[in-house]
């Protein structure tokens, strides 16, 4: 087993020795932001909720990564490695989003989303004739060449 002296030398080799942030202060700021993120939605304003919930989450994550995980003094290639993985996550999200977030398409319809209580968008197209299927709530009219779903289309 290693001795205390060996371990102390190892800790110095890590390059993190002598880096003393005021951790309690960082923690207090994080707790303050937690309070704001819980209180924000109480105002009932959509953009405030989005910022206090997700904007603050990003700031909190940044602070934890920078000060607690010491990424501010870590080798740059480690930061790049993590950023690449985050990039892959965003690539996955934005590559699949256009497809998954649609509520209906050719021969299928997301019935539960259609029946959800969401505001009716203003359509600038002619009302469908009797017997024709109307587009789902929250969806634009079908693009040229895209078949509108039949009333008997299977539920998604």
């Amino acid at each position: 087993m290693s001795s205390h002296a060996d371990n102390h030398t190892d800790a110095a080799a890590h390059g993190h020795e002598g880096h003393h942030t005021n951790y309690v202060k960082i923690w207090a700021i994080l707790v303050g932001m937690l309070v704001v993120s819980v209180a924000g939605p109480e105002l009932g304003i959509r953009w405030v909720t989005l910022f206090t919930a997700f904007g603050i989450a990003v700031i909190k994550a940044y602070m934890v990564a920078r000060y607690f995980m010491h990424l501010d003094i870590e080798r740059p290639f480690v930061v790049k490695l993590l950023v690449v993985c985050l990039g892959l996550m965003f690539l996955f999200f934005f590559a699949t989003a256009p497809d998954i977030m649609k509520h209906w398409g050719m021969n299928w319809m997301n019935e539960s989303a259609k029946n959800a209580n969401i505001p009716e968008p203003v359509h600038h197209v002619a009302a469908p004739a009797a017997g024709e299927a109307a587009p789902a709530h929250g969806e634009a009219a079908p693009a040229h060449g895209e078949a509108a779903p039949a009333p008997e289309a299977p539920a998604h």
């Binding site: 102390h8 190892d10 993120s37 819980v38 997700f54 989450a57 870590e74 480690v78 999200f93 959800a116």
Partner: protein, 190 residues
């Protein structure tokens, strides 16, 4: 006894042990990122999920966030104590971190019991499937971190392998970081 190669070797300028932890975290980003990304896509595609999300307990989620943030503080203070060569103090702070993890799991246990008793099971609908999968996977990471931390604390108490205090700390901060995003996604966005 010879020290393990992960302690001594440093081909990249980062000790191999710490580099390995960063690789673990890089792979975890993809795992949790994929799960949370899928949840977000479905959440945006299913406006009716807001109704299901309204059944989650915001106060329990907020309390657990506070617990994990505090446990992260004790983990980083344990690292500081290890840097100063104070193994017993580092061990004590690691045990405090474990206590935070245990508190988190107990709160989660009560929360899940209440939800399951009210019929919100993993098979109830898509929202609850994601809820239990994401929170369950995170909970599994909390348990794994606690077990490893107990071993590291046992060595640190004897002033041995103090460099491991930092390694388990980095992992624990990542677990905290994942919860920072799970909290608004599952508890606040209603």
């Amino acid at each position: 006894m010879a020290k393990p190669i992960a302690t001594l070797r440093s081909a990249s300028g980062v000790p191999t042990g710490r580099l390995a932890v960063w690789w673990v975290i890089a792979s975890e980003i993809v795992i949790f990122g994929g799960l949370l990304g899928s949840y977000l896509l479905h959440r945006l595609g299913h406006p009716e999920w807001a109704t299901y999300a309204s059944h989650t307990n915001t106060w329990a989620g907020a309390f657990n966030t506070l617990v994990l943030l505090t446990s992260s503080l004790s983990a980083v203070l344990a690292h500081k104590a290890a840097e100063e060569g104070n193994g017993p103090l580092a061990a004590k702070r690691l045990l405090l971190t474990c206590l935070g993890g245990l508190t988190f799991l107990v709160v989660k246990g009560f929360e899940w019991t209440y939800e399951i008793q009210h019929g919100f099971t993993i098979t109830a609908n898509g929202f609850w499937s994601f809820y239990y999968s994401a929170a369950g996977l995170h909970g599994f990471h909390v348990i794994a971190g606690m077990i490893i931390m107990l071993f590291v604390a046992a060595d640190a108490r004897k002033n041995q392998e103090l460099q491991r205090v930092e390694l388990i700390g980095i992992y624990w901060h990542f677990v905290d970081l994942v919860w920072i995003f799970l909290f608004p996604l599952l508890y606040i966005a209603k």
